[in-house]
Each structure stands twice: as C-alpha cells, then as structure tokens.
C-alpha cells in the first residue's frame, strides 16, 4: 500500500531537483551522496520548503499540488521530523520538549503514551534536564521522542546519526529499529551511509544530483558504499 507519493520539482540556484517516488509502510531510505537533494526532498514533504511544481500526497490527502493551489502549512501536516542536529528547544526542559507537539496540537495529555515513548527511548532519567546538558546521543533520542509524541502520520528522519560518533551511532540504531518494528509509523529515512541503511531500511530510493536514479530493495545499497564512510 502506498502511503506517500512524491512528484516534485525545485530549482535552488543552479541546483535542479526533480524527484518522483512512492513510499509504503516501513522505512523508505533516501540514499545518495551529499548534495543529491535528500534534505531538500524531506523539507518539501514536511512543508518547510515549497516545490516549484508537482504534487505531494499522503494517503488520500493532498499536501501539496501547485496546479490546484494546495499547500498545507507544516503545522497542519501531522508529519514528525527528526533533524540532523536535533533542534531541541534550548529554553525548555527535556520533558517540555517532549510535550511540545502535543501541547501545540491541543491533544489531551496521554500519560500511557508518554511513558511508552520514554521507555522505548530510555530517556526517563533525562526528563528534568536542559538540552544543553545532554550528550549527542541523548539529544537525538529526545528529538526522536519529541517527534513521536506528536503522533505523526509519517516520520521524517534526516541523517539522524550523522552528527554522532560511531559509539553513539551504535547506541541509537537499535532504538530506530525498535521504532520501525513497534510503532507502525511509516518513515522516510535520509542517509548517505549504506551500512546504516542496511540495518534499518525496507525500501531504497537512490538519488544522484537531484534525480532519482533507482528505486528498489536493499540490493541498491551494495554498489554504492563509496558515498561516504560510516
């Protein structure tokens, strides 16, 4: 079943992106070297960047369609986004960061859900701290929890491990795999590291210089290890 259908064009200076792909349940990897347009695509899915042309659909919902003049603003898309650098709010505690999405969308407090996510990510001991005092790995776990607790229909992860050293990468990956297997939320996962995607992805969209060059399974990761060291 197709959950997300993307068909967009965007010109940024001399860089031209034209991408068309579909994502199903599970983890769809956007895989390619730096500068191939991966982050540009997820920003357009999130609504942070407006495509020049095309459509973005989620299930039956049209999120963007320039011909029909539809462009749902990011705060009404219901799409969770885990950024490369975490982007936790420095003026809020970890608990307040986690609770931010729920408060902004006006959902009632759901203690059971909160506890579940906190347990899944092992962040119970961090709740009263400020983001500044967290390690890189802790920060990224909180960022994942924050995105999950807004109850997203889709989760975007943009190089969630790129800012971490290899020890912390190994620390986060099992959480992401648990998330894939337990949460049922479809994910779009951006990375330039084949080894990381081999463990987490269920479908691979390969990008080069702003274009989709191949769509398929994990076998697409094999001939492209040269994209970057782990």
């Amino acid at each position: 079943m197709i959950v997300l259908a993307v068909d967009v064009e965007k010109r940024l200076g001399t860089f031209v992106l034209a991408a068309r792909f579909e994502a199903a349940a599970g983890v769809t990897a956007l895989f390619g070297p730096s500068g191939s347009g991966k982050t540009t695509i997820v920003n357009m899915i999130a609504g942070l960047l407006t495509p020049d042309r095309g459509t973005i659909r989620f299930g039956d919902v049209v999120l963007f369609d320039n011909a029909a003049g539809i462009n749902v603003p990011p705060h009404r898309r219901g799409i969770g986004y885990v950024f490369q650098e975490g982007r936790l709010f420095p003026h809020l505690s970890v608990r307040q960061n986690l609770d931010y999405g729920r408060r902004m969308s006006g959902h009632p407090h759901d203690a059971a859900q909160f506890e579940r996510v906190v347990a899944l990510l092992d962040i119970g001991s961090l709740l009263d701290r400020r983001p500044r005092l967290l390690s890189g790995g802790e920060r990224q776990r909180v960022a994942i929890g924050r995105a999950l607790l807004m109850r997203p229909r889709l989760l975007l992860l943009d190089e969630p491990l790129a800012s971490l050293d290899s020890r912390h990468k190994r620390e986060i990956l099992p959480y992401l795999m648990r998330l894939r297997d337990d949460s049922g939320v479809p994910m779009v996962y951006v990375s330039h590291t084949a080894a990381e995607l081999r463990r987490i992805a269920t479908k691979v969209v390969r990008l080069e210089a702003g274009s989709v060059v191949a769509i398929g399974g994990l076998e697409l990761l094999n001939d492209a290890d040269a994209y970057g060291p782990e």
Binding site: H75, R76, I79, F83, R87, H91, M104
Partner: protein, 231 residues
C-alpha cells in the same frame, strides 16, 4: 516620610509613573518594529530604520518640538486623537510619557532586533513541524529565545524615560504635579537661590532609583540566561 516634602514625593511618583507607562506602551511596538527590521526585507526599510533611530541623534529639543507640532492640541495627530478618542497629550503627564517613550524607543528596538536576528530560525521550523502555527511559534519559541534582548531593551528604554528632560520639557513644559519629573524638579530648584539642598536630595533619589533599576535588570537578565544554560 524620609524628610521629603509632598512636592518631592509627587515628582518621584510622577517620574516612575511616566517611565513605567512609557516603557510599557513602547514595548509592543518595540517588539513589532524589531521583528520587522530583523526579519523582513522591503522597499523603504532604510527609511523606517532611520526614523526609528532619529530620536537618538536629534537634539531632544527638536524631538520635543516635533511632538508639539504633531501631537499638540492644534497638531494634526493631537487634534484627531483629542476629537475622536478624548486623548490629550499637551501639558499632561500622558504627553510626558509619550515623549519619554519616543526618546527611549531606539534604545529599546536595537537589542530586541539583535536578539531576534541571532535566533536560530531552524528552531522555528522545528516548532512548525510539531504543530505550532505562526503565532504559537512566535510566542513559544521566538519570544522566549529573544527574552534577554527584550529585557535589555526594556531596561534601556526605562532608564532613558526616567532621565528624559529636553524633549519632555519642550513638549509638555514643567508643571508641578502634572509634568514635573525628578529631572525637571532638579532643574527648577537650581534656578532659585536657596534650592541647592532640595536639589541635592532629589539627585540622591535619582541615583538610588537608577541603581535599583540596574540591579533589578541584572537579576532578570541572569534568570533569563540561566534558563538557557540549564541551571
């Protein structure tokens, strides 16, 4: 009380009231203009920038005179406000608050603008993906992150308003009980032969108030800073 005459108490009370009202009324405009200058590019931005900072470089007497001809009873804005809203500035303490607010405004806008420019806009994007509309993003992310700048702007504007003399005396004169602030009272006392002792008392009070404001602002700024450092 404290050996001060009722007239002196009146001047103190008036100074504080004028400075507080001037700062409080300037604050929403200061945040709005600071935001526009920090975030928006538009034709005429340089002109707006210039107008905002004009009271800082103009002689205060000139600013006071400009206020008089525009906000006085016969001034176009003053006549309009008096006729339709019953708001009168000339020779009232409200006029003193207006001139103090105008004089303090550039000092308020500048730190607010700088603080807004320094904010990581990507945090605002993150808030939007978490379901916050633009107003909520501003209230829950932008404004709290700019808080140290807002506090600095409030303190500078309040200090300027408390000490304002030239524009105020030009615009609303020096009327005891209505527009005579501590500064104006000191000036008046120094014009009479035996006013030195009374003036010295008011000078002392001005110093005390200034110190208290500084300490209070330091305390607020430290508290705001602490929230970011996670203490």
């Amino acid at each position: 009380m404290l050996g001060l005459s009722p007239a002196e108490w009146t001047a103190i009370e008036l100074s504080l009231r004028i400075a507080i009202v001037a700062t409080a009324c300037a604050l929403p405009f200061g945040i709005a203009i600071g935001w526009v200058l920090a975030r928006k590019e538009f034709w005429g931005k340089t002109v707006l920038d210039g107008i905002v900072y004009l009271p800082l470089v103009l002689p205060p007497v000139v600013t006071g005179y400009l206020l008089l001809i525009s906000f006085g009873r016969r001034g176009p804005i003053g006549a309009f406000l008096a006729d339709y809203f019953g708001i009168v500035f000339s020779f009232r303490w409200t006029g003193a608050a207006l001139s103090c607010g105008v004089m303090g405004f550039p000092l308020m806008v500048r730190p607010i603008r700088l603080a807004l420019e320094a904010i990581d806009r990507r945090l605002e994007d993150a808030a939007a993906t978490l379901g916050a509309n633009r107003a909520l993003v501003f209230l829950t992310v932008t404004l709290p992150l700019a808080l140290p700048g807002v506090i600095a702007g409030v303190v500078l504007c309040f200090a300027r308003a408390l000490g304002e003399f030239g524009a105020t005396i030009t615009f609303v004169s020096n009327i005891p009980g209505e527009t005579q602030t501590i500064s104006a009272a000191i000036y008046t006392l120094l014009q009479v032969p035996d006013g030195d002792a009374a003036a010295a008392r008011l000078v002392l009070i001005a110093i005390v108030i200034a110190f208290a404001a500084l300490i209070a602002s330091e305390w607020f700024a430290r508290r705001a800073g602490m929230r970011f450092r996670g203490e």
